[in-house]
Amino acid sequence: MTALPKRLLIANRGEIAVRIARTAREMGIEPVAVFAEADAGAFHARKIGRAVSLGPGSPAETYLSIPRILEAARQAGADAVHPGYGFLSESPEFARAVEDEGLLWIGPPASAIEQMGDKLGARQRARHAGVPVVPGSDGSESSDDELLRKAVEIGFPVLVKPSAGGGGKGMMLVEEAKRLPEALEEARRVAKAAFGDSRLYLEKLLERPRHVEFQVFGDRRGNVVHLGERECSVQRRHQKILEETPSPALDARLRSAMGRAAVEVARGIGYVGAGTVEFLLDERKNFYFLEMNTRLQVEHPITEETLGLDLVLAQLEIAAGAPLPSAWRAGKIAPRGHAIELRLYAEDPRTFLPRSGRVLAWEPPAGPGVRVDAGVEEGSPVGLDYDPLLAKLILSAANRESAVARARRAIEDWVVLGIETNLALLLAVLASKDFVSGRYTTDLVSRLPPLEDGPVADAAWIAAAVELSSPRNGSAAVARSEPWDAGTAWRVGA
């Protein structure tokens, strides 16, 4: 086993950068942050002790620039790089470049990233591993005619997906056969522009599926285990906003079968490190491989809370050559209680359009079983250049009902002022009958009744008027009363 790194460059921003830095410090590893010049005021750049500028420019020229990140690593004398999620975390070029630079890459082998990054290829690999996949094309179709035949075979509506995509990016819904040719043409154009690769594949649109994913972990000796599932069906715009574990949809038998399938997929590509295998569950509880994410996921904390683990710590140890903990390999870990994660986004809770502004007040909730992974603090600017995730709220409790009650209480306690957020939407989800019953699918958010504003309390109108009547605030100078300000006479010693 090689030694743990001494200085870890975190090639990311926001909450995940702060979160990775915490574990690094607990392990005696010095974290190094990077920031685009325009992002110098961001929380992660201020909070992580050592921070290196990536220079001016857009995200593409900074957080997504392999040369600039490597230069920052050189400047800081880092000996390891953690890519977080998003950005370059699933770039095989980045993984290779980091290793070519002689730095320890905290992630899976570049070949594994590449294999799973090709979504069509990933489906084929899953099939070879004996894992059912969402009915769809298999890559043998070489003409639009063949794709059309396949689409008719699997049945409309179908989804046209870019092979180089993922996470629902660039996908198009086609309801009927006559629309397929133009959809294929459009999808190829979009895929080429967005990913530089116009290859497509088809998938049957499953009616009202549930999205259930499994955390997998592999070590350099070929051991692969799964660490249970996460239910991620609460989504808006194909993006998750709430995740929970255990999944209310799974019983022991299904969990065991899906877990085995996830391990088989990961083992088949020689996976090392943290990864997530995503499945769709149909109404009859059949499960189908969707895709694999070769990185740490946003929602990893709910797995951590129910298993009492630190997945970033595990990533660092495994990257340094440690084997998977024996308790994991012996299948001796079992989740305790229930955990829910809620994602706080800077956006209009109805239209989901992102909002920009500044966080004027920030008081996250607290208490037993309340964890907040924040990417902002009071005063943080929030722009439109990055994903609008402000923070994650993770609740854990003895059971699902308690976790839901804790989530509601925590959201009511959360003070975020200065920027509009989706707190009202999160509360609406927690209050919905479908969510509370545990019987919900990916159409939950779209089926919620329109968010209603209750009447504004008198106290709030009064407070607003009081604040707006005071003179424009400059610095908050507290008025101290000095004896000579009083209108009456006073005497020393009197």
Binding site: A464, A476, V478
Partner: protein, 153 residues
């Protein structure tokens, strides 16, 4: 003063230890810690608060709810208000300004281009008229509802 909160507006005035809410008198006490307004007491009940002011807007967390108030009327017109105001339909960046004050434009002419959600949105003249004012410069970030330009018939 006239305040708006979401779709609601109300005439509110503070007179010593009572407020007039559209003519209805509500006695209250304000609790502060230093400069910070922390609670409003009405009758027997304390409403816990947090406030943050940003110019003519104030954000209030009250009793588990987060609200945004502004003085009603004024330049930052909500979308749809103001006969010939052109407002930003979504937050974005002013990419290009294609008209200047004094220009005569026809209905449908592109007055400026807003970049948002990685796409360009043409902001067009709602009817024939003259551009009276453009409130931003190229490169400015704007929020949804903010007035971008004003026209005269």
């Amino acid at each position: 003063m006239k305040l708006s909160c979401g779709k609601d507006t109300l005439e509110v005035s503070i007179q010593g230890e009572a407020a007039l809410l559209a003519g209805r008198r509500v006695p209250f006490r304000a609790s502060r810690t230093g400069e910070r307004l922390e609670a409003i007491r009405i009758g027997e009940r304390d409403f816990l608060l947090r406030t943050a002011r940003d110019g003519e807007r104030v954000f209030i967390w009250c009793d588990g709810r987060v609200l945004e108030f502004r003085r009603a009327g004024g330049r930052a017109a909500r979308k749809g208000e103001g006969a010939l105001g052109l407002a930003a339909p979504m937050p974005g960046r002013v990419r290009r300004i294609l008209s200047a004050p004094g220009d005569r434009v026809s209905q449908g002419d592109v007055v400026l281009i807003l970049e948002a959600m990685k796409m360009e949105h043409a902001i067009r003249a709602p009817r024939d008229g003259t551009v009276a004012a453009v409130f931003h410069r190229e490169g400015d970030l704007v929020e949804a509802g903010v007035a971008l330009a004003e026209m005269r018939e």
